[in-house]
Symmetry: D2
Subunit: 337 residues, 4 copies
Amino acid sequence: MIIVLKQGASQSDIDGISEKLQNLGLKVHVSQGEERTIIGAIGDERILRETPLEAHPAVEKILPILKPFKLASRDFRADDSLISVGDQVIGGPKVAVMAGPCAVESREGLLTVARAVKKAGAGFLRGGAFKPRSSPYSFQGLGEEGLKYLAEAREETGLRVVTELMDPRDAELVNRYADLIQIGARNMSNFTLLKEVGKLRKPVLLKRGLSATVKELLMSAEYILSEGNHDVILCERGIRTFETDTRNTLDLSAVPLIKGMSHLPVVIDPSHGVGRADLVPAMCLAAIAAGADGLLVEVHPNPQEAVSDGPQSLRIEDFRELFPRLRSLAEVVGRAL
Amino acid sequence: MIIVLKQGASQSDIDGISEKLQNLGLKVHVSQGEERTIIGAIGDERILRETPLEAHPAVEKILPILKPFKLASRDFRADDSLISVGDQVIGGPKVAVMAGPCAVESREGLLTVARAVKKAGAGFLRGGAFKPRSSPYSFQGLGEEGLKYLAEAREETGLRVVTELMDPRDAELVNRYADLIQIGARNMSNFTLLKEVGKLRKPVLLKRGLSATVKELLMSAEYILSEGNHDVILCERGIRTFETDTRNTLDLSAVPLIKGMSHLPVVIDPSHGVGRADLVPAMCLAAIAAGADGLLVEVHPNPQEAVSDGPQSLRIEDFRELFPRLRSLAEVVGRAL
Amino acid sequence: MIIVLKQGASQSDIDGISEKLQNLGLKVHVSQGEERTIIGAIGDERILRETPLEAHPAVEKILPILKPFKLASRDFRADDSLISVGDQVIGGPKVAVMAGPCAVESREGLLTVARAVKKAGAGFLRGGAFKPRSSPYSFQGLGEEGLKYLAEAREETGLRVVTELMDPRDAELVNRYADLIQIGARNMSNFTLLKEVGKLRKPVLLKRGLSATVKELLMSAEYILSEGNHDVILCERGIRTFETDTRNTLDLSAVPLIKGMSHLPVVIDPSHGVGRADLVPAMCLAAIAAGADGLLVEVHPNPQEAVSDGPQSLRIEDFRELFPRLRSLAEVVGRAL
Amino acid sequence: MIIVLKQGASQSDIDGISEKLQNLGLKVHVSQGEERTIIGAIGDERILRETPLEAHPAVEKILPILKPFKLASRDFRADDSLISVGDQVIGGPKVAVMAGPCAVESREGLLTVARAVKKAGAGFLRGGAFKPRSSPYSFQGLGEEGLKYLAEAREETGLRVVTELMDPRDAELVNRYADLIQIGARNMSNFTLLKEVGKLRKPVLLKRGLSATVKELLMSAEYILSEGNHDVILCERGIRTFETDTRNTLDLSAVPLIKGMSHLPVVIDPSHGVGRADLVPAMCLAAIAAGADGLLVEVHPNPQEAVSDGPQSLRIEDFRELFPRLRSLAEVVGRAL
């Protein structure tokens, strides 16, 4: 950690800060430049996080040197993490395809989609039984009934089930039915929920918040990892910007960026990322080209009747047509589908 | 709701959509322009929210006419809501001042601040017993112990207590100690938590999310109101932008904007809004000038030792000096402090 | 255009606004809903742009129906525009590759890169003779001398030259040397400059501004088109967001989005988009997968010595290795390189 | 400047970089920590700006210590700059009020506003003769004719004239008529134009770009200052965020932030900042409370007929009513109006 002092900081300021750092067990280097004095603190700077030196009147700014996360970092683990979800592995050469409706609406509808996406080639069925909706008057999900339909669809098709957990009090319930537990974007900084899934022994799909930096996403992953659950998959699903012709701005550069910083797999959700079905196929292709370990795609038998997120859902026939194009592209970048 | 059709939409598209709207009980007006056909749907367009017409292949876009919230709206209630919190009233001529440390760290420290801010003139004591921290390795709050210290400080000083609830399972506990329950910015879209405080009969301070629009803030308030809790106070605390020299960008225009759209009181948190103690006094003054119903300000006896948010905390003497300046300004804009 | 009136708008407000619209030659439909009255104006709503009905006290909001641009629109021209730049065509099956240093620094350095990118397979040489630098103390470009080196490199290699114009007074000069004139992101809304290149008969590469929506980019293209220059190529180069680990956020969804709205070709600049050489190859692949018509990539013989944008420049050997990967990927999505 | 090396950087990397820095005349400190080696370079780090060490394969990141601007900095000049514009002084105890229409539309209209704002108490008349409009089909301004009307209004009322320059070729023309030359937000990074006004000896009002940080605004001021024109006034006019209910987000914290970093005066434009006349009065009051040195406000005799920015213009009677409220507030914060 580098402490930059204000112009005109006195010797007693320098001595006071240096002493404080030494008392914390850090080694200190003071460099007096022409315009500024800077103090370097060597050692585990994480212990400094509780000591807000920035509040010192002689301090201009603090420049951290180390990353604020540890278990999620490439420094901690150099090899890519491979996460097993039933018979599927995420993070290896095979690109995982997770498809299904935004919300589980009915048993029949879900089974129709499940059979179709299975036949097309997907390995995972997505579908929400608990839905975070911006309006209290909108459909909030079928709850446990929805989870049962998902389990039934898994039984029949062999697809692995991805579904969202919103309430820490439902953790056990969702854990009973899901193969992969999704933490939605709105809950990326719901630390209560993160700790709860950290205590489970079930893989977690952690979505990036609408205004979260990649570093903050990795800090949220650290919450889960530090509780002992090592099976975390990250998901980029669009960030909020000033652009209004897409629902969000899908940040595909997050894929190689995260790959450099962390060993965890990265999945892309182009459906929420752009919010428009007509742009989803191009973004699926681009995601695989960028190196994504998986796709999370909304597919609905009749998007015009979907109770949630219809405008961004692919029709079954669109998804069926898209699949071989994704496969060819995956092969050319050294992956499989 | 206005449905704009794509160029080249056929008569059967127009008829199909019109029929669908009529079946939902809406009156339909079709206008054929030179370049586009538009369909107007008259009636309660909220019932359309579950019917994603945007997914129809002939639809270019949907333009909603009505606001998505109801109970939070000025249309629903023309007069300003006055929220009683113990002997204090928020939303009337008196500007509420809520001051205290970011986190409750110790009994002694809290009592010191409580006495000081009371003496300076504040009516509320703020302090977190449960802290949402971006790192799992940072101080997470004292929990119930912290709540007890807050209650003791109230006992001694008469200040009303504002404190954050993070976990729905702690709702009863926090309700026992708090006079005003804070929902933090990271939890503005934690709908599980919103419903929980909606069931309480205790005023709620709802903070705007880092990337939430004012409309979304009002939708989150609607979650609480629709559960029967009418005592909601909104709080602007800075939004996330590209600027890096302040922690967030404090959106003071949200004050008159919300006042036009809603009857609920609006409080400003300049400490999180800018994240730097040197800018807080100017922002307190500006907030009152903009019409805010209250201020939420971090004050710490020794910001350099604060375990959380030290750089943005005012020292006790800064707060004491600031208070009379706020009072004079409040008077000149027709308020009191 | 739809005019939504405020609750409580009077009949005389409705009549006054209707009359005003009719006087402008528009047909008017009034719909009285339960909560709001709306007025639809049919005809060329562009004539309304000079009449700010939103300032009318009875008007709540205005919802435009038509796009604000015309010549740039897919409605105006259904087929993709093919833009010839010398012997190269942009917008057809072949993906254009434009490579070279950020700034022209020396004759020798430029020729080295030109030969290398030509040999690797590029069709265009990029390089700035006039550089927009955020500091007045940074290298500002070689000016005409740089243009001469570019011309010499074209002479020798046959590469087409792309170079930036910053000052309307240099339009003729740059026009003499360039095959494709670049308008940089900082000048996307420099309407003086847009009109100037609109008067030339030379293709223009128009970069999206850091905070410009896709619609605003198309409006800027409209400035050039409306002056009679039909050869406009759009370039997405990253938008400004809150993320700090990349220089900008590259918005690849802009490719299919623009393709739906406009007939103009779209090129991607991943170098500025992410600002880090290690992420550029993945973003080049993703751009082609997303459907981009070209790439604009910074390549430098020795990035550590580059006077501008070194950290985001590929080394010559990186570019040489990348090229065959781009070619294989282009083929699998039905393009050539 | 601090250079943080990657984990695993070799001794020869360290030596190579150190030697390079020493050759540039900098003193070097190497600190080997547990996880990272860092190199501190002491001396004028501005000479490093042309040497992109970040491109070195062993470098993880560069942390600059010094601010990138010099003449605009408080370090360079500790006292507030007072800028004389005719008989008015900006930056002293008196808050400057600049009012008038967005665009000069007609002689009669301009004179009406000029007389009204003069009578209300304003010291400056604003009005654009050259208008940057996002559509090429919108009114582009009256040009020199508009400048003449402004001069006539000055003659009659004694108000100082603020008007925008867009094209470097018009610099002399605008200089002949204006008392204060405005550089609009879209041109904040039009370095060609900045250099041009830097050569004039006329005060410049420099507006912050829609997506410019405060540091970048100060860098643009540095362009003007470094050409020898010391009379620069900064203007915050709203930045672009995700919020859509206001045109922009007015960043009032920029006022105390800039005051800490620079000696230059700061003016607020609430009209563009929020884009809605109903929010402008509250933002004017808040701006003065925040410490602004002036206001730039749009006033129009009949906003419904304004050819530009009607929805954000105050009516003359609104402005007249507002003025005494501003004056009372200014007095209570130790200023005058």
